[in-house]
């Protein structure tokens, strides 16, 4: 078991190195940070000096090497754009993204499972047809359009909910939360719904397919024959057996939601790491971009590691395989 985790951790480090390497390879094509750093009346000599100072005229592999050496010491540099230490910028903005990601995952899970079960049980009902059609729309509409639509209806026309930002926040240690104030909670609703829609439809369709599969199996038929109540059969036996793939998918999706909430964060001006990344790309803020991409790689690697360890515990075949391999 320990050897397995050690091996996986080693692989994780390699993945992150590769991500950083590719990132530095690509950065050369993003543009020149000096376009934003220097003022309009800067002279050619100023450009040369700045290029020299920032190490921008070094080959990309040298820049990559410096980045890795500094990163190993916990130094991610200072943002060109905001002049703040990068690790501090990311840590400050992480709570916003995590709260949004978790809230949207909960919405997706609760409504996804409920609607999935409902449409599986009432396959021929008119409402099922409506839900399935709507889910197709939800999955095919781009996120920014859904966001703008929700803003228009609920903020501009009805004036029920805020159109942007995170509302009032409360500082608990280094964690800045919006969950403890009324305006914070109200601000969370629209972006969380926007971000959850894709996952919601995904989970719903998954649960529905799995449910329909399970409902056809023998043990459900026997359970019916034993005279168990519909409720006990549907939720106690059938649903339970559909949950394994659903949990796997939700877990993996949480990673991509944290990493790629970029569009939702931009539309709602949500102050998370995603909008930090977008602003950094526009300004060619290399230190922030590099640290963010490595961070995203870390999130994925960690979630995969946890999933793998869970499998290892759950699936005896993997354990046996590991033993015989020793």
């Amino acid at each position: 078991m320990l050897a397995f985790i050690a091996r996986r951790l080693l692989q994780s480090v390699i993945v992150m190195l590769v991500v950083a390497f590719i990132a530095f390879l690509v950065f050369r094509y993003v543009g020149d940070p000096l376009a934003n750093l220097l003022s309009q009346d800067a002279k050619m000599t100023d450009y040369e000096e700045a290029r020299e100072r920032l190490g921008l005229n070094q080959p990309f592999y040298v820049q990559f090497f410096h980045f890795v050496v500094n990163a190993l010491q916990g130094q991610f540099g200072v943002s060109y754009r905001l002049q703040q230490p990068v690790s501090q910028l990311i840590l400050e903005r992480l709570p916003a993204t995590i709260e949004l990601a978790v809230a949207s995952s909960i919405i997706a899970l609760v409504f996804g499972v409920f609607l999935g079960v409902y449409t599986a049980l009432k396959q021929r009902a008119f409402s099922t047809g409506v839900i399935m059609t709507l889910s197709l729309i939800g999955v095919s509409l781009p996120t920014f359009l859904i966001g703008i639509g929700l803003i228009y209806v609920f903020a501009v026309e009805l004036k029920w909910l805020p159109s942007f930002g995170r509302g009032e926040v409360v500082q608990i240690g280094w964690w800045r939360t919006g969950l403890l104030t009324q305006s914070g909670l109200r601000s969370l609703i629209l972006p969380a719904i926007t971000l959850s829609l894709f996952q919601l439809t995904l989970i719903m369709r998954l649960v529905r397919a799995e449910m329909m599969e399970v409902l056809r199996t023998d043990y459900i038929r026997f359970a019916r024959a034993r005279g168990l109540s519909q409720r006990a059969i549907n939720f106690g036996h059938a649903l339970k057996n559909t949950m394994v793939p659903v949990i796997t998918i939700t877990g993996l999706q949480l990673g991509s939601v944290i990493a790629f909430a970029i569009i939702t964060e931009t539309v709602f001006q949500w102050p998370g790491v995603g909008s930090l990344f977008v602003n950094s790309v526009a300004a060619v803020d290399v230190p922030v971009m590099a640290a963010y991409l490595v961070f995203v790689a870390l999130v994925f690697v960690m979630i995969n590691l946890v999933v793998d360890i869970l499998y290892f515990i759950v699936d005896p075949r993997l354990r046996d395989g590991a033993k015989s391999g020793r």
């Binding site: 376009a35 100023d46 200072v78 905001l82 230490p85 942007f164 403890l180 104030t181």
Partner: protein, 525 residues
């Protein structure tokens, strides 16, 4: 656990209290991007200066019509008998936010800091050799030579408190390459009309009016400065009543907002012109099918290109009326602008075709036009429109559209044959345009003269502007240079940009030509 609960309680109490005092005098003001830093000498950039002007002050200010006004300096003049020294009389009785007195020592310290190595303001003060405090309220600037326009360069150079700065080790301006951030990036101590209450980067900056300020107390007593990057979200926030004033209004929303009840849009000319540039010199163009000559180097071709540039059509169709077409690469506020220079020829395709034949390019030629697509208002659309117009005389243009961060390095490396750029004139003086766009490209001049136009006679005149001490003579030289620039078609100006601020009815924020509005100018009905 105990402390965190106390903190929550305190925060909740603070929110309720804030809600209690909020009234019509607090303005919520949103724009597309945040100030980059609070360090006043680190960045020479509009958004950063805009916020800094609320907290810090400059020696000299500028009215919305472009004229210089007294601010921390009450008067200034060349020293009698020595036209290389500017003497500034300082305002007495001014205090910094921490209570310290404002004196000549602070000015000396701040100008030296603005001149230091990592400051982005240093170019504006490159003509200053030294600053000395004569007494507590008089400062002398020793120039390298006579510099009539120098006070114009002071409108964005902020004065810091010397003692406070030294306490916090601020002698060196933030260096991007260093590993640490300095204290002034997030902390302030100015003399300005507002004090900093809180700041969350890219989210919200809260300001409160400074009761000790020397000027007339502003109507706006509290400012919430918000960043909303997405244009649709920004407009929605105004429509839903969550913000009072919005900057950076997209042209397509101006009409809709003006006709919506409860909202209005203030528009006015911006100090920024948009122009096309092309490569001079005999060497053939890199992106053209003409390999034995440079068509742009032929004055007839340049004339033909101006004759097909339909500036009015671009204003009407591309800019939806939100631009001021111009025939001179100089905004109307700037010294040296005249109505005569501003005039531009009516489009004449037949004449242009004849000129192309006369120039020896009857079938036209191919070339690549480099354009930014996220820097100026509708920049890519302007280029696209001109591509169509050039097609009428056989100039077949391939459009290369890139974000400004990719466009700039190509331009600066003289790699472009044909390009679109915009230029603002923060000193409100023509020399600023000549120095960077017309003077032969060297290490210290003509940085953006990337078409490599070179006219030694003009260069000499341009350099003479820096040290000319006779105003009438200087004006004559400026007019002279403009005449040549226009006759040679060194640049092909399209229009001046127009600024639009949207706000709720009952509030008025006048347009500031450098797009650096101050909340002290807001009036309520």
């Amino acid at each position: 656990m105990h402390t965190s609960l106390t903190r929550i309680a305190a925060a909740l109490a603070a929110t309720t209290m804030l809600a209690g005092v909020a009234n019509a005098e607090t303005i919520r003001w949103a724009r597309s991007s945040d100030a980059l830093t609070l360090d006043p000498h680190s960045q020479n950039q509009g958004n950063t200066h805009t916020l800094a002007h609320h907290i810090y002050e400059t020696l000299v200010g500028r009215d919305n019509d472009g004229t210089l006004t007294p601010r921390l300096a009450t008067e200034w003049a060349l020293k009698e008998g020595d036209d290389t020294v500017w003497v500034f009389k300082l305002r007495e009785g001014v205090k910094f936010h921490n209570g310290a007195d404002f004196t000549a020592e602070d000015v000396v310290y701040s100008i030296e800091r603005a001149k230091s190595e990592f400051s982005n303001m240093k170019q504006l003060h490159s003509v200053v050799e030294g600053v000395t405090a004569v007494d507590d309220y008089t400062v002398e600037f020793q120039m390298a030579g006579p510099s009539l326009i120098y006070p114009n360069n002071l409108t964005n150079t902020f004065i810091m408190d010397k003692t406070w700065s030294e306490e916090h080790d601020l002698a060196v301006v933030q260096d991007f390459a260093s590993g640490a951030s300095n204290y002034a990036v997030l902390n302030t101590n100015g003399t300005g009309p507002y004090t900093l209450v809180s700041r969350e980067i890219d989210v919200k900056t809260v300001l409160a009016s400074n009761p000790e300020w020397w000027g007339q107390a502003p109507a706006v007593t509290g400012v919430e400065y918000l960043t909303i990057a997405d244009a649709q979200t920004r407009i929605s926030a105004l429509l839903s009543g969550e913000v009072d004033i919005v900057q950076d209004v997209p042209p397509q929303d101006i009409e809709r907002l003006s006709s919506t009840e409860g909202f209005k849009v203030e528009t006015g000319p911006e100090n920024r012109f948009i122009y096309f540039g092309y490569k001079f010199g005999d060497a053939p163009l890199k992106s053209s099918n003409i390999t034995d000559s440079n068509p742009f180097n032929n004055p007839l071709v340049r004339e033909a290109m101006e004759l097909v540039l339909d500036r009015d059509a671009i204003q009407k169709v591309v800019m939806r009326g939100q631009s001021i077409p111009t025939g001179i690469a100089n905004p109307p506020f700037v010294a040296g602008w005249t109505e005569e220079l501003d005039a531009y020829p009516a489009p004449d395709v037949e004449k242009a075709k004849a000129l192309m034949v006369e120039a020896g390019y009857p079938d036209g030629f191919t070339v690549t036009l480099d354009t930014p697509n996220n820097r100026y208002v509708n920049d890519e659309a302007i280029s696209t429109a001109y591509v169509g117009m050039l097609g009428q005389i056989g100039i077949q243009v391939t459009l290369a559209s890139r974000p400004v961060a990719e466009h700039s390095p190509i331009i600066l490396a003289n790699e472009s044959d044909f390009y679109l750029l915009g230029w603002g004139v923060p000193t409100f003086d023509s020399a600023y345009v000549f120095n960077d766009l017309v003077h032969t490209k060297t290490e210290t001049h003509g940085t953006y003269n990337v078409g490599l136009y070179s006219n030694p006679e003009l260069d000499e005149k341009i350099i003479s502007l820096g040290t000319e001490s006779d105003q009438a003579k200087r004006d004559a030289t400026v007019a002279d240079i403009w005449a040549t620039v226009k006759a040679d078609r060194v640049l092909l100006p399209v229009h001046n940009q127009v600024l639009a601020y949207a706000m709720r009815s009952g509030v008025t924020l006048p347009v500031q030509p450098e797009n650096q509005p101050s909340m002290t100018t807001v009036t309520f009905e």
